[in-house]
Each structure stands twice: as structure tokens, then as C-alpha cells.
Subunit: 450 residues, 2 copies
């Protein structure tokens, strides 16, 4: 494919996206929690729930664990038991895979709209609890008989903010012609991956779906045969390469990690939650750290319904999410961390090397944060800011980094860490609950490097 065409493609996409940004209105106004229409506080527990009993609830959670430096704490958490669909429709055109993306507004987005999958819908959403418009293109994902399914797996979301949340990540091949419309556009998947190099453009739901879709090399680039870390990292995405640990060893390492600590959670009243202060307007931590629960009133011009109120989780400060990479015996490996998080179904999934919010962190500095933040510029392979889910989180942003750890970095690492290849992570993404949302986002970033 000639480079000029690729540039034309990209410019056309960016023009369309700019036009959608101007056309899409989404006004967000802060409203006190007690004033949220259709939401109520449970008289006994103080839980925030929707009048329909659907969508999601904000509840209190008490956590006791032998993992990490804080043995016990309470926190608000979002409980969303129903499973949503994050679905991307794809098609082949002249040997290139295209995905149908949507320009979607969410109240928590700093920039109103971001690139989202073809369909992004909670069950309450697509069963039309709120009596809105039906979700466009949903039928491609729900009609199982005629479906050609490339990806169909339940994956977790933010385990510190959601309790047991999971979404169905799907990639489905279009079996008939699906035309573009105002909000939907066909984009080459390799181009979509490259858009990740731009801050806050490709939303979290797109990133997790892309991570689950097996990687193939871009059609307009040569094979990455260089001896440099970047080339090795791209090669490591391809299936069948050599690995430091076999799949069996990797799974046993994760099982061992799950068994190393206890983590027990109990529901707690959202009112009177130890360490948190609730006013009629917000719920915040006594020290001003972590996050607040706030209320918003949304007026959208391009959504299933036009106006609604909801609580949102507003994180304080920007997080750091990073992989350290190292070439070991000629093969690039990523350092994953067996991370306990109270809201994960099985408590532990593989996370990035570093995942923290430095401005919120109490206690000793997280392991390897220094290596990430103070790496020389020539070792930083990837560095952009990405937004988390704008439907539940208000302006949640993380700095995503992929950093070459350098030859001096030890091959031997503490037991909670393990060297894996990007290809091993991708192959595990056939299954749910192995790789957390932050690590999946980063894998999508690795896929954007070439």
C-alpha cells in the first residue's frame, strides 16, 4: 500500500473525527448526589441505586488482605453485575482488516468524544430499560447462528473501582455490507492501532477489544528484523515464538501467586464508611486521596436518550501504567505483575509492571516506578496519556508507558513478577480473567508500535 494513501486515509479519518467532535454535544453539569434524578440512597446502607434497580450501584466495600502494605481498608465501589457487550465489526478489503468504529460521547471524557467499538452497550442499555433508541448494529453480536466470531470472551475491568465487573469483548466478521453512517466509520485495524499513539483518542473499550484480537503485521511496513528492542518487541507479538517460560510454567506461577495471599471482601454501608466523608454532594476520602464519588447531569445530542443523571467515580491525579521490556536470549519479554485487586472475580490477574497513582500513593514507592519514570529518553518506546471508561469514571486518565529496562536490569525478578512475551499474553486473552484491563490497554499500545 503506498504511503501516500495511508496518509490520505489517516487525514480523512481525522477530518471525520473533528467534524463529529463539533457536531456532538455533551454538556455535563455537577449535581449533588442527593439531587440525582432517578437515583436514590438506600435508607439502611446508603447505597446509591437507580430507580429501575438496573445499570449499576455505588456501594461500600471492606477489604482485608495480607497483600501489599495496607492490611485493611474500606472504600466505595461500583457494583455492575450485568455483562455488557464491547463489539467490533470487522471486514476484509483487499487483504486488509477494517473495523467499524464509532465516534462516541461519554460524560467522563475530557474531550467529549473518543473512538469506540461498533457497539458498546450494557445489558440495561440494549434491553432498553431507559426507553431510549435501540443500539445500532447490536444484531451482529447477538444473533449467534449466523455469526462469524473472531473474539468472544469476558474480561474484567478496573478491579479497584468495580466489584466483579466484566464485559463481553467481541470481534465479529460482517457477513453482509454494512454502510457507514454519521457516527460509524470503517478504519483499517492497523491504522486504528496507530491512533493509540495520540493522547486520549482511542477509548478504553476499543483498546481492550484490540488487545484480544490476534496481531498481524501492518501491510505497509517491512518485517521487523532489526536487533533493537522495538523490533524484538514487535516480533514477540507474533504467535509461536520462543519464550522464557512455557505456558504451563506461566499458569503455575499465576496459580501460586493467587495462593500466596488472602484477600477477603465484605459489603459495608456506604454511609459511615471508615476513612470516607459523605456530604449531600459527594463522597470523598478523609485525606483527599484516591477518588471521589460525584453526581453529574448529562445532556447529550447523540445518544440513546437525551438527558440523564448519574453518579461517577472521579479519580484524583493521573496514574502511571507501564511495562518494562527486556530482550532475554534474543526474545523481547514484558515484566508482568500478579496483582491483587479487591473487585476482581478471582482477586488476581496479570497486570503491568507498574500500575499506580504516584500522587495518591501512601507508603513506600511501588517497585520499578523509579526505573519507569527516570528512564533515559532513548529507552522510552511508548508514552501517551489514555482515558479510562468515560461512562463511569469522570476524567480518569493514565500515562501509558513502555520502557526498555536495559541490559543491566536483572533477569531474576521477585516472585510476584514474571517475564512473558506479548504473544503469550495475547494467546491467554482467548480466556477471561488472566490479564487486567490496564495490561490489556498496554498490549494494544505494544501493537501500535510498528
Amino acid at each position: 500500500m503506498p504511503v501516500s494513501h495511508v496518509q490520505d486515509d489517516r487525514q480523512a479519518f481525522l477530518d471525520w473525527f473533528a467534524e463529529r467532535s463539533l457536531a456532538t454535544g455533551c454538556e455535563v453539569e455537577w449535581v449533588g448526589l442527593d439531587d440525582l434524578k432517578e437515583w436514590r440512597s438506600d435508607p439502611v446502607t446508603g447505597d446509591l441505586t437507580h430507580a429501575s434497580g438496573r445499570f449499576f450501584a455505588v456501594e461500600g466495600l471492606h477489604v482485608r488482605t495480607s497483600y501489599g502494605t495496607v492490611p485493611e481498608w474500606s472504600q466505595p465501589i461500583i457494583r455492575q453485575t450485568e455483562i455488557g457487550i464491547l463489539g467490533m465489526l470487522v471486514k476484509d478489503v483487499s487483504g486488509r482488516l477494517f473495523g467499524l468504529v464509532q465516534a462516541k460521547a461519554e460524560p467522563g471524557n475530557v474531550n467529549t468524544i473518543q473512538v469506540s467499538p461498533t457497539v458498546q452497550a450494557t445489558r440495561s442499555n440494549y434491553t432498553q430499560v431507559h426507553q431510549g433508541h435501540r443500539t445500532k448494529h447490536l444484531e451482529h453480536f447477538t444473533r449467534s447462528r449466523e455469526r462469524v466470531t473472531l473474539v468472544d470472551v469476558l474480561q474484567s475491568e478496573q478491579g479497584s473501582w468495580f466489584y466483579g465487573k466484566r464485559n463481553r469483548n467481541m470481534v465479529v466478521r460482517a457477513t453482509r455490507d454494512v454502510p457507514e453512517d454519521d457516527n460509524h466509520r470503517w478504519v483499517p485495524v492497523e491504522e486504528l492501532r496507530r491512533l493509540l499513539r495520540t493522547d486520549c483518542l482511542v477509548n478504553m473499550d476499543t483498546r481492550t477489544v484490540l488487545a484480544c484480537l490476534p496481531y498481524s503485521l501492518p501491510s505497509d511496513r517491512p518485517y521487523p528484523d532489526g536487533a533493537d528492542v522495538l523490533s524484538a518487541l514487535v516480533r514477540s507479538l507474533l504467535p509461536g515464538g520462543r519464550t522464557r517460560h512455557s505456558l504451563e510454567e506461566l499458569l503455575s506461577w499465576l496459580t501460586e501467586a493467587k495462593n500466596r495471599h488472602e484477600l477477603v471482601t465484605r459489603r459495608a454501608s456506604l454511609d459511615g464508611l471508615a476513612g470516607w466523608r459523605r456530604t449531600p454532594d459527594t463522597i470523598s476520602h478523609e485525606d483527599g486521596r484516591h477518588f471521589s464519588i460525584v453526581g453529574v447531569r448529562v445532556r447529550a445530542s447523540e445518544r440513546e436518550i437525551v438527558t440523564w443523571d448519574q453518579p461517577m467515580l472521579y479519580p484524583h491525579g493521573m496514574g502511571v501504567v507501564a511495562f518494562l521490556a527486556k530482550v532475554i536470549d534474543g526474545v523481547a519479554h514484558l515484566l508482568v505483575h500478579a496483582r491483587f485487586q479487591a473487585g476482581l472475580l478471582d482477586r488476581v490477574e496479570m497486570g503491568p509492571t507498574v500500575q499506580c497513582n504516584p500522587s495518591n500513593h501512601a507508603g513506600p514507592q511501588p517497585l520499578f516506578l523509579n526505573e519507569v519514570l527516570n528512564a533515559p529518553a532513548d529507552r522510552i518506546l511508548f508514552d501517551t496519556v489514555q482515558a479510562e471508561e468515560g461512562g463511569r469514571f469522570y476524567r480518569s486518565e493514565n500515562r501509558y508507558l513502555i520502557v526498555d529496562a536495559g541490559d543491566d536490569f536483572p533477569d531474576e525478578v521477585p516472585g510476584e513478577y514474571c517475564w512473558v512475551t506479548a504473544g503469550q499474553v495475547t494467546s491467554l486473552l482467548k480466556h477471561g480473567y488472566y490479564v487486567n484491563i490496564e495490561a490489556r490497554s498496554l498490549i494494544a499500545c505494544v501493537q501500535s508500535l510498528w
Copy 2:
């Protein structure tokens, strides 16, 4: 291997087992729940907990679901958050795999001792919360550096009786000579599998560990090349065979099934649980159905400690657990059911075709129960009674059946069912939470057929 030697091996094993049965005392006396030493009822919720805060608790659970015929119910449930180890040590002798089994008494066993894995220990158990003896051979499973691990995976247990329970299923190769002792004996794995054809001899923990260990054909039997269902079923255990559905289709079917219904659980007070009656002695269902929670006092002569009290779950009536099998396009398939159970981590796992307790069942008869119970004798490939976990369940027994569905049985089945091969199930057992305990027990039974 000459048949006479095999018979000698078996006789020697049965002689040893009979000797252990005589030598092992385990007196079990019923005690009222309010009189259990070291156990207390929470003054607010009525939960039954151990004074140490460890081991397990009996709590109330409220369930709301769109699955099945009962939309809402409450029940007592056993919460055991800590992960135990079910570990089998193995070694090769002249090309045959041997496993080190234990003759282990449990208070719930009708026959006191059963064949158990080398190590069977909860975390409280092996960290010696009760100040008893240390668990013998545990070090082979906990020292990860020097371990040669064949199986290491977390698997669920009874999802209707346990909330979120899972155990670490392990098979580890002995790296040094491990001698037999009074309670431990080396047995050829193929012989161990055959012992499953005897009622209530091989315990549940051994069955799940055997199921997770990839199958190989017995050394003393010819290759199963017959055209009959039994031969086809044994061939289907071997990896790499043809299958009706690809792995991707199978995983997508399960994801779809998980998304089909909602199932929401909430803790409820064990006191005043709707539909249940609590006395100082027991907790039972108003209709006398399902199960009771009872108390027992145990005096054992061969255990970590000599005497203890505990609550147990006492199921009413014997259950039926069955696979229908059918040869489709020359390959034997098993009919699995995507089964919602309130205590499973992700609510749904693949279960047997039929899993029910006919004497307890209210409402319409479960699908395919008739085909199982009224099959002609020549279609019944396997039919034994096996006991469930004797450490938590009092005299829990199920009739395990593998039944040839016959050529007239349709290939097309309802959406909650799927035809899979025994080899596909075995390959999924590398991962946790795909296959429920009843189906894993049945897979061990399939492995015993040849």
C-alpha cells in the same frame, strides 16, 4: 505387562486398603449446632464461624436469577475463601506413571476412609491453625523452585453448596525417592483410574486431580480401535482428535451462555432465612428438601488432631450426575450443559448433561433425565456411586453415569447444551473455572473405562 501382575498389584492395594480401614478410627457423633465447641453464631447474622476466624463459615445467601424455574430463593451456604491444595505426587517406574495416594478418613464418609491424593489440606490446615501435626509431603507442593509441575490450576467445587470455593489442583513429579508409609502408597495411575469403577472408593479430590492430568492409554490394554461407542469415547480422550466444534466456537458458546441470564447473589442473615427453619440443633428447609446443616463431633485416630467439632452440610437423597455420549461423524462427543450455580465465581461452568437430585426436585423434570435413567442396559457405559467431599458434606453421594444416547438422539441440541469431546474438556482443564466439579468427576470416570 502380564495380566497376572496387574491382578497382584490390585489385590495388594485392596489388602492394604482393607488393613487401613480397620486401623483407622473415626467416630462421628451428632451434636446440636449451638453446642459445637469452638464454633459460634454471630449475634447479628447468625452465621456459624470458627473461633479462629479461619476454616469456613456457614452463611445465608439470597439468589435472584432469570435462569431455571425458580426466580428467587434463600439458602445456607458454606463460605470458604481460603484456597487449599489437592496435590498428587507422581513418579515414572519402567514407563508407567505411579501416584502416591493416601488412605484418608473424613467425618462425612459413609465408609470412613477413601483413597485421597498425597496431600489434601486447607490453608488453615497446613499453616497449622489448629496446632496439629504438620501435613506430610506438603513440601513437594509448596517449594516452587525445585518443583516439576504437571498440573497446577485452581478449580471450583460444588457451586450450590460452596460460595466461591476453589482448590489448587496439583500434580508434581517426585524429584527424589519418596518411601511409602502406613497411610501412603504408590499406585499405578491407570490402576487408580480403574478403582473408580468401585463405589465410594476414590474420593472427590482424587477424581478432580485425575481429571486435570492428561490421559494416556493403559499399558496393559490394546489400542481402542473398535467401532463401538466405548472405544470411540476412549479415543476421544487423546489429544488432537477431530471435534464437532472448534475451541473458539466452544468458548464463544460458553460466553454466550454466561450472558444469557442474570444471577445476582446477596448475603443474607442465616437466622430467619426465608424457607428455612433453624433450631438449636440444625437448619433445615421447611419442606424437608435440599439439605440440612448439622453439627458433628469427630474423634479420629489418624489425623492432624484427635478431636474436633464442626458443622456439616447433609444432603437429602442421592443425586444423579450423568453424561450422554454420542458418536457424531465417527467421533464420540459428550453433551455438556452451561450450568448456572450461585456459588461459582463466574456463575456458569460446563456441567454434565444431567446433574440433579430427583427426590428433591420441584417443578418440571430436568431435561434428559429420562434418557439417562431409562436407558437400556446395553447403553450404560458406566454406573457407580461416588461420594462427595467428606470434610464438609455428611454422606453426600451421587450416582455417576455415562450413557450412550443412541443414534436416534438428535445432533441439534438446545442452546444451553453443547457437544464436546472428552479431549476438549481435558485441554480446558489447564485453565480454572471452565468445568464444574461434577463434570470433572465424570471425566475421571471416562478415563477409567479402558
